[in-house]
Each structure stands twice: as C-alpha cells, then as structure tokens.
Amino acid sequence: MLRIATGIMAAVLAAAGFADSGERRAGRVAMPVVKIEQGEACVAATEEMRRDHMKMLLHQRDRTMRQGLRETRFSLKNCVECHASRETGSVLGKDGFCSSCHAYASVRMDCFECHTPLRQGRTAGAPR
C-alpha cells in the first residue's frame, strides 16, 4: 500500500515539475518580453529573482524604513538604476522592465505610486 502511495506521489511530483518547466509553457503560451538593459547577473539567480523579488523588496523595505539600514543589494533604487530603459529612463511604460511582466501577469504593483520609476544617473528623466 505504502509502495503504491509513494509511486503515485512520485508520479504527481514528476508531472508537476514537467508542467512547471518554462520551456513547455513557452511553447504553448506567448511569454512576456522582458528587456534586460544591463549586466549579465542580477543580485540573485534569474529564477530566484523572478519568483522572490517581491519578498526581497519587502524585507529590505522594512529594514531601511525602520532601522535605517541602507544596503544597496536589495534596494528598489538599485533595481531602478540597473533596469530602467535606456530610452525612457523608466522601469514603467509599454516595454518597461517592471511593467511589461506585471501587465502580462496582471499583477498590480504599488511601488511607483510613491517611488520614482526613473533612473537618477545618466539618462535625463523623461516624464512618467
């Protein structure tokens, strides 16, 4: 009995892993076009970033706000510096780094109601 249950469980897990593989889905469904502007490596592996970037931001948010810890690794400002579009200087807009994926996933983000979506560095800020 136990052997059968274990077998079923293994089959289910294998199927789940199979269904979850990005390549399989990409074949059937159009994937969002995410334009990565800069660098080969983010602060963590791409898979981890896709899945957990919101957790990192939330964690860093409370550390910075409450304790005054201003580490740059997971700071939103740092995200925008790297990922803002070269043309518009923003992470929002049609092909914006954040908005392209969020529009695809239909997940609303509140970050840029208050935070600036514009890079502060080289590109002159275009109105959002």
Partner: protein
C-alpha cells in the same frame, strides 16, 4: 592563589584603573556617519538648535527643504504639503516681531506615534520621527494629534519624486530631518542652506554627543522647547524665543 588567578586579577585591577581614568577619554567613538550596514542606534539622538535672534526674515530653509525633498505644491496653500514653515510672532503690546522656522519637533514622546492605529507613525532608534508610508492608511489622526501642526496630508497624485524621498497620494508626511542625508553623514538641507545663504541660525547634531556643538550650546546657553508644558522632550530647540 595560583599564578593564573593572580595574573587575571592583575588584569582586572588594570582595567578598573583604566575605567577610572576614562571620563577624560571616549572608549567607544560615536560614529558620525553610519555605514549602510549599520542600524540607527539609540546611542544617538539627532536634534536641531535654532537661534531665532539670528533668524533673518528669509525663507531659505523652507525653499531648500522643499527642493531637497521634492515637495511641490499645486498653488493651493490650504491643502499643499508643508514640511517646514515660517511662523511670524508679534507682541501685540510692543509690536516686537520675530520669525521662526517650525517643523516636526522630533519628540521623545511623540503624540503622533501614540495615536497611529497602524504603527505607521514611529520613532526611529536615533530619535527621528517618521511615517512609514507603506503602512499609513491616511486616517490623519496624527495630523490632529500633533501640537505643532507639523504633518501634512497628500491630497493629490504626485509625480517627479526624488529617489530618496518617496511621496504619494493618500499618505501623511512631515519633516524627516532629511533622514536620507543624515544616514549619509550629512546635515539636513535646511541647516545647510541656513548656514550658506541665511542667518546661520541653525545647528544640527547629536544631543548625546559631548563633543557636538549642539550638546555644548544646549548645556551652556538658555534654550526653550515650543510647548514645553506638554513634556514631549522635543529634539528641536529654540533660542531667543
């Protein structure tokens, strides 16, 4: 007594002698600029000392504050945000007039923190009173509770924010003592501007640091808190009021 024990006690005596001499020296140097990996510490308490007698009739501090923090109005003084404002006092009998800048007083016992239902209004370990806009629901209890009228509600959508100063509709905000600059080891924008273009009336520093100018002046010169009767122990002190 074993030699080890004796040696140990010898060290203890030496340490005690060192501690007795220590008041002349600082054993742990209070860092002025924290590293980004270091949390705000209760060893420090940031404060301001404003000498009204030197306060020229200018608005350099107000302009600098609103420029630094990206506080822009819509030409509607009733509802536009104000982080710092110029208050004019006039003695009705003698006609003697004074102006002073008034902003969040960064109280030790802030009424805005007491009334906040979500914990958004809080006092950081180093004494800076802030609004966590992530948890602020815009109820405006703190606006009513603050005896200094220091808090503003943002009524309209905001754009063109500064990277270090996020602002958005539906939240309460006030003077942050330029926390982003203080964390970099700089002084608030109002103080910098006053010492550059104004009457050199403002001093910023650590109220707990005996080597700071603000500590020495508060210790040796008279100063007042606005509404001292409320016993809030404000971080902003005035002279010549």
């Amino acid at each position: 007594m074993s030699p080890d024990r004796r040696r140990f006690l010898g060290w203890g005596a030496a340490a005690a002698a060192g501690a007795a001499l220590a008041p002349a020296f600082r054993l742990i140097e209070l860092a002025q600029a924290r590293s980004p990996e270091e949390a705000a510490s209760a060893l420090q308490r940031w404060g301001l000392l404003i000498d009204i007698t030197k306060c020229a009739d200018c608005d350099v501090c107000v302009t600098a504050c609103h420029e630094e923090n990206g506080v822009t109005g819509h030409g509607r003084p009733e509802t536009d945000a104000q982080w710092i404002r110029q208050v004019r006092l006039r003695d009705k009998r003698t006609g003697y007039a004074q102006t002073l800048p008034l902003m969040c007083q960064h109280c030790e016992h802030p009424p805005c923190v007491d009334v906040c239902p979500t914990g958004a209004s809080f006092r950081r370990a180093d004494g800076i009173v802030l609004v966590d806009k992530h948890t602020c629901i815009g109820c405006r209890y703190c606006v009513m509770a603050c005896p200094y009228g220091a808090r503003s509600f943002i009524h309209e959508a905001v754009s063109g924010q500064k990277a270090d100063v996020p602002r958005g509709k539906g939240m309460v905000e006030s003077c942050t003592l330029c926390v982003h600059r203080v964390d970099r080891g700089e002084t608030p924008a109002c103080v910098e501007a006053c010492n550059r273009d104004g009457g050199k009336a403002m001093v910023f520093g650590d109220l707990n640091d005996p080597s700071a100018e603000i500590y020495r002046r508060l210790r040796s010169e008279p100063s007042t808190q606005v509404r001292a009767d409320l016993a809030l122990n404000t971080g902003v002190r005035y002279q010549g009021l």
